[in-house]
């Protein structure tokens, strides 16, 4: 197995994809395998012959993913994706602490702590819990994206039920020290959830070592299919169903399983051996990109550069440039990149993550995020750099002209 077999032939030849934090193309090898799995259309809950193969595929996927993450297979609950996993963890803890629990000590714990840069699914679930009587504490981050640890420490108490902090940010790639944060939470008897959606294939992590109680993952950020994700729930941790239904996932998540997507997700663990090399390739290219960028384009900076980051992420602030126009121009030239999170594109408001980091609305609107993937090549980065250079210089020229004519600037 090597990177060539992973290179997806469905990627358009004349385009360069640099938005791997939004989603990744399907691994070529998977698209071949999937055709074989399509015949396993049976319901894995069925006792008869047609249910057996899908059940085995699910079991293999669960075992492989558990091994990959360093956990027990029964600690893996398949979901429809990262957002469902995040919702399940947060709402589940809320339900089991607030409603179900008869333990008065548990009922005292009515605080949820999250960071200011969490994914909308975490923020949304936190808001849901707030509306039902939980106290939600939001820990700020600084301009480099790092968590205010002192604030966090002070927020923790015997009232804290759950902490939810992402492993790495989808827009900047900035990594939080999850192991330490979880340890601090545990010292106060609180549970710890981490949204690890951006980690697969970009970092090597072992959940056992990380010692979190819950962790969320998504298949489509890892060269798999959309519609598959998983929630790791450490044995004996509080849990309550988000989706009631049949006995699937040992009664913990109702609904007939997305066998094909989960099987594909599990299959991706075969590439575990490639990850160290992939990380070092991406990091080299990302660092090269940033160095060249700063050399070739004036008034640019990298947001979060001084922090520990994912090896594939770069968040670029290009002063005076409207991110919306930049993105459209790059798209027309054949480059796929994003401004804010992909979910909010189409409605280009300034990125809440960048605002939370203390960037002004104008700075946030002049930002662009790049996400490299396993297949990104030096040629692609070079081509992107020249494309970007051209577009930025043209946009700056137009802006200078309109300023001369006394028009209102951006």
């Amino acid at each position: 197995m090597n990177f060539t077999t992973l290179r997806d032939n469905s990627l358009k030849k004349d385009r360069i994809y640099l938005d791997f934090n939004a989603t990744s193309p399907l691994a070529t090898e998977l698209s071949e395998q999937i055709l074989g799995w399509l015949s396993a259309w049976g319901n894995p809950s069925s006792i008869h012959c047609d249910g057996r193969r899908p059940k085995t595929l699910m079991r293999d996927a669960r075992n492989n993913l558990a091994k990959f993450l360093g956990v027990h297979p029964l600690e893996v609950i398949f979901t429809s994706g990262g957002s469902e996993a995040n919702n399940t963890a947060i709402k589940g803890v809320f339900e089991s602490f607030h409603k179900v629990s008869s333990d008065p000590k548990k009922k005292q714990r009515r605080q949820l702590i999250i960071s200011a840069v969490e994914h909308p699914s975490v923020k949304g679930a936190a808001q849901w819990a707030r509306e039902r009587g939980f106290d939600v504490t939001v820990v700020p981050v600084d301009r480099s994206g790092q968590l205010d640890i002192e604030f966090y420490k002070k927020s923790l108490s015997e009232k804290t039920a759950l902490v939810s902090m992402m492993y790495a940010n989808n827009e900047t790639g900035v990594i939080f020290p999850i192991k330490e944060l979880a340890e601090m939470a545990h010292r106060h008897g609180a549970l710890f959830h981490s949204d690890c959606v951006q980690t697969l294939g970009k970092t090597e992590l072992n959940l056992r070592e990380l010692n979190v109680d819950y962790a969320s993952f998504s298949a489509h950020k890892f060269y798999g299919l959309k519609g598959s994700g998983l929630l790791y729930v450490k044995k004996r941790s509080a849990y309550s169903n988000l989706i009631q239904g049949g006995g699937q996932e040992r009664g913990r998540r109702g609904g007939t399983e997305n066998v094909l997507a989960h099987t594909a997700f599990g299959y991706m663990t075969k590439f575990q051996g490639l990850i160290p090399e992939a990380i070092s390739n991406m990091e080299k290219l990302r660092d090269y990109f940033e160095e060249e960028l700063i050399k070739r384009i004036e008034r640019v900076s990298i947001t979060g550069k001084s922090s520990q980051r994912l090896p594939n992420s770069s968040n670029v602030l290009i002063e005076g440039i409207d991110g919306e126009s930049l993105l459209m121009n790059l798209d027309i030239e054949g480059f796929s990149v994003s401004t804010g999170a992909a979910c909010s594109s189409g409605n280009p408001e300034p990125s809440p993550v960048l605002l939370a980091m203390g960037l002004s609305a104008k700075e946030a609107q002049s930002s662009m995020r790049i996400g490299l993937g396993w297949t990104t090549s030096q040629e692609e980065i070079d081509s992107f750099l020249s494309g970007l250079e051209n577009v930025v210089s043209r946009l700056r020229k137009i802006q200078a002209e309109s300023l001369r004519q006394g028009e209102v600037s951006l």
Binding site: S325, N347, L395, S402
Partner: protein, 374 residues
């Protein structure tokens, strides 16, 4: 000999395609505009302006407003079928500042505003012109029913559309003449039935969509409710008397002047033997004057903030439209020292309404216009 329609060649002198940014609302006109340009061989980029959060108002989505959420999806669908790039650009802040706020304040002053002109002035032919340059496009196209033709000196001039019923030049009088070299109106020489037929043939899903009527952001609950949703209760115009014109007799109480429009007959809440019409709205006195229809007719008006696209001679007999549905009436214009114009009609006109535009034509040529003063 009819004047030549000005339209650039789809291929530039260097052999590359002419790149056109098309403003797509999701309606049939701008969809066909985009389709025609693609068919003619231009490189086309579609764009929809997201101007208003439609979750705030009760609009039947896609049922005849300019650009509600499903309309954005319709525009995207058309762009996909045409296989052209498509983007939604957020103009909510600019739209609020340049279109909604003036609209609201005009109503509060007892006028009947015309937001579509501001939308053209500040969004389509300013913000989108900027986007056109930024996206390295050579031209901006819109689905307006209007034509750009060659004037006597070879300069571009705006003429009414082939389909005189649909003609939209009334909304275009503020356009900067120098922009006409960068604008295309692809459907200006089409009639609406032809255009629908074309859309059906091309299988554009918008072919049977209703025409847009009314103002895109107001919704079904009416102007007065919209105004009340935008203004704090303390800033709303107060109640006041409804007086009979010219006697001054108080006939009843009105709910605030923003509920009334010149010429309005229904929902006055006063009883009289003869039908009564709103004759005048006096914002300063918070008074609504009503009276017999004959008092609605006037032969003279003043127009301010005038914008002319061509020379007009003092006393020249021209055609002036005082509202979109107005056929236009013969009039002469006289310039005043402050730059405004006095307009004298040959025949008295009904309900010359402050806040609406007076738009001037020489035959079919759009000459410009101004805003009707109270």
């Amino acid at each position: 000999m009819s004047p030549r329609i000005l339209k650039p060649s789809p291929v530039k002198s260097d052999g590359t395609k002419t790149r056109v940014l098309v403003a797509m609302s999701g309606g049939v006109d701008s969809s066909v505009a985009a389709a025609l340009l693609v068919e003619e061989g231009y490189e086309v980029i579609g764009v929809t302006m997201q101007v208003w959060d439609y979750s705030q108002c009760e609009v039947d989505e896609g049922a005849g407003t300019c650009c509600s959420t499903t309309d954005v999806d319709d525009a995207r669908d058309v762009a996909d079928r045409l296989d052209i790039p498509f983007y939604v650009i957020n103009c909510e802040a600019k739209f609020k500042e340049d279109v909604i706020n003036p609209f609201v304040s005009a109503y509060l002053q007892g006028q009947t505003p015309l937001p579509c002109v501001n939308c053209n002035t500040y969004l389509k032919f300013d913000h989108l012109i900027r986007k056109m340059k930024e996206l390295n496009c050579d031209y901006l196209a819109t689905g307006h029913y209007a034509q750009i033709q060659e004037g006597p000196a070879g300069d571009p001039q705006i003429f009414t559309s082939e389909d005189s019923w649909k003609d939209q030049t009334y909304f275009l009088f503020t356009i900067q003449p120098e922009l006409l070299n960068t604008i295309i109106f692809p459907v200006g020489d089409w009639t609406k039935p032809e255009l629908r037929k074309y859309a059906e043939e091309k299988d554009l899903i918008v072919a049977r969509k209703k025409d847009s009527t009314g103002i895109c952001f107001v919704g079904n609950s009416g102007y007065d409710n919209f105004i009340e949703s935008q203004v704090s209760p303390n800033d709303l115009p107060p109640k006041g008397p409804i007086k009979e014109y010219p006697t001054g007799k108080v006939l009843g109480e009105h709910k605030g002047i923003h509920h009334y429009t010149l010429g309005q007959r229904k929902r006055l809440g006063v009883f009289a033997e003869n039908p009564l019409y709103v004759i005048k709205i006096d914002a300063a006195e918070a008074t609504v004057w009503v009276g017999d229809q004959e008092h609605l007719y006037r032969s003279e008006m003043e127009i301010a903030k005038c914008h002319l696209l061509d020379q007009i001679a003092e006393g020249e007999s021209l055609r002036v439209k005082i509202r979109f549905q107005h056929q236009g009436a013969k009039a002469q214009l006289y310039k005043k020292s402050d730059g405004s114009y006095s307009v004298r009609f040959d025949e008295p006109q009904r309900a010359i309404t402050p806040g609406q535009a007076a738009v001037i034509y020489r035959d079919k040529q759009l000459l410009g216009g101004g805003w009707i003063c109270p």
